[in-house]
Amino acid sequence: MPRQDSVTMDTESTYSGYSYYSGRSRGSHRHGERTRDRHKSRSKDSRSEKSVTINTPPAEPLLGDSSVRGEPVQDDNWGETTTAVTGTSEHSLSQEDIVRITKDLEDSVGLDCRRYFTLTLAVILGLLVFLTPLAFLVLPHVLWPDKLQTCGTACEGLFISVAFKLLILLLAVWALFFRPPRAALPRVLVFRALLAVLVLLFVVSYWLFYGVRILDTQDENYQGIVQYAVSLVDALLFIHYLAIVLLELRQLQPYFSLTVTRSTDGETHHYNLGQLSIQRAALAIIEHYYCDFPVHNPALLSASKSRAAKHLAGLKVYNVDGEFPAAQAEGPGNNSGAAAGLAQSQSRAMIAAAARRRDTSHNELYYEEAEHERRVRKRRARLVVAVEEAFTHIKRLQEEEQKKAPGDIMDPREAAQAIFPSMARALQKYLRTTKQQHCHSMESIQQHLAFCITNNMTPKAFLESYLSSGPTLQYSKDHWLSRQWTLVSEASVTSGLKDGSVFLLKCVDFSLVVTTKKIPYIQMSEEYIDPKSHKFVLRLQSETSV
């Protein structure tokens, strides 16, 4: 009899094992009562962890025949055996470990082939460029030495000039082009490619002229040939000048102001850049990111995520009227539409209910934050005192004293190890409260302490790197997890920056959103003030005429 079951239901305080057609239901005791009243004809099996009475075999679902809905029969025990999926932290340390493993894999594969390809091309072009003037000078001696005029003094002077100009060109090319590459950019650098093509065309045209007019006719005027070689080297130097202007000087003048925002916590910085292509601007921004932005700490974001989860978890939507069966009966074609409509109405219902209920979560947030602030300040005070006290225990020995020191003499590492235990506990508690404990390992702290002792730094200087979270560069290599960045942009990445262009720099944990604004044209006018025009008078009592 259902009545009996209701009695056993009353004594249960945990979830009921009712299977409900909409999914696992872990309704409250009250909810179970309501459904019972509605479906008195059914005898239900009620089970919980505590009660062991089984009245009827758990064969049928709650609402009539399952065949009507075309749904697989749900076991009433289904609720017990499923494990609840609570809000796991997606940003736990395990993900960082995974990323670290994949990063090692990526490093080995990389874009090495492309880099070597461009490197070999550059070397070939360089060799061609350098050997061409020498070839121009040497070939006549090799091919028609007897017909050639002897080289006079002017001609020999030109040899010196060719030699020195080639040396300067060599040094200049080495300075500009043969620097260790900073990054592997997605597309080819347009200006460099254009310059390479220009140089190639230039050299080829010189060779053509040489081949046709000098080699074929076997010109005897050696001085003319030497002058031709000198003109080639001069022109190459001018092309190098063009390269400097295009590649280096053009983007020095600031033209755009870029705003970079980190997507996880909103940290924003502004940078001024010149006229660059989007990929080069992205590279400049990443380099600034490592210096300016405080390190990304996923532990600090968990609070807002748990709040969001609580907002959603407080409400559950149960569809009591039989809308769903009708959708099912019409077949799979209409299913998605009906399901979508159902989902939409469900979410609207949730939003309405959330708006209506009295939400006191802002109160909780306020008090929680105040409490946290107070705790952090207390721990910080303890830490500062502990560190200051620890630093008083060691003293630096002067040169003369080193010979006649009383106790053992320690080097910085040993000194750090000696005073570390007295401050370790306070430091650890502080790091735990500010959720920085995974950024600093014991080893790194001791190393930093030894470094501070060696350089005569005060306790305050030692603590500075723990009290405020510094830029990513400050931490160990583990935190440079994201050396693989993805540039997401609607415009082509080799196109230049424009006013209002937006692009994203994605890495594993977060992304940087970059917006561009043009620096406005500044209209400045002058106003001349004669230095003699600065005159003053004492202001006596104000006298007003009536």
Binding site: Q541, E543, V546
Partner: protein, 126 residues
């Protein structure tokens, strides 16, 4: 002038002066300038005996103007204007009390050192 004891009422020998305002264009003028006030620097006052006296003093008289005709003199301390007290007042407020647009006549109570001396002399004679 009488000495000023803080907290005690001020006693002085005063003279009633009635000035008829003169209309000049759209303004009514009285023909003198005032200085002083509790928001001004009393040490700059050339006419006061006690350099901490923050009262309103007459600093200039336009010759032939209504004030001159009525008998106001330079260096007079104005004690009252139409019944409004002028001994503890801001400079701007004193101005407003003197230049009310709907009044044609201002009745001042002024004091000066010669008055005191005259009264003492008269009492001494008796």
């Amino acid at each position: 002038m009488t000495c000023y004891i803080p907290g005690q009422p001020v006693t002085a020998v005063v003279q009633k002066i009635e000035i008829q305002k003169l209309r000049q264009g759209d303004r009514l003028i009285l023909g003198f300038s005032i200085g002083g006030g509790i928001d001004q620097d009393p040490s700059q006052n050339p006419y006061s005996e006690d350099k901490s006296d923050k009262g309103i003093y007459v600093t200039r008289i336009a010759p032939g103007g209504p004030a001159d005709v009525a008998g106001l003199r330079v260096g007079d301390k104005i004690m009252q204007v139409n019944g409004w007290d002028m001994t503890m007042i801001k400079h701007y407020q004193a101005l407003k009390k003197l230049t009310k647009p709907n009044e044609d006549v201002v009745r001042l109570l002024v004091t000066r050192k010669s008055l005191e001396q005259a009264v003492r002399g008269a009492m001494g004679l008796q």
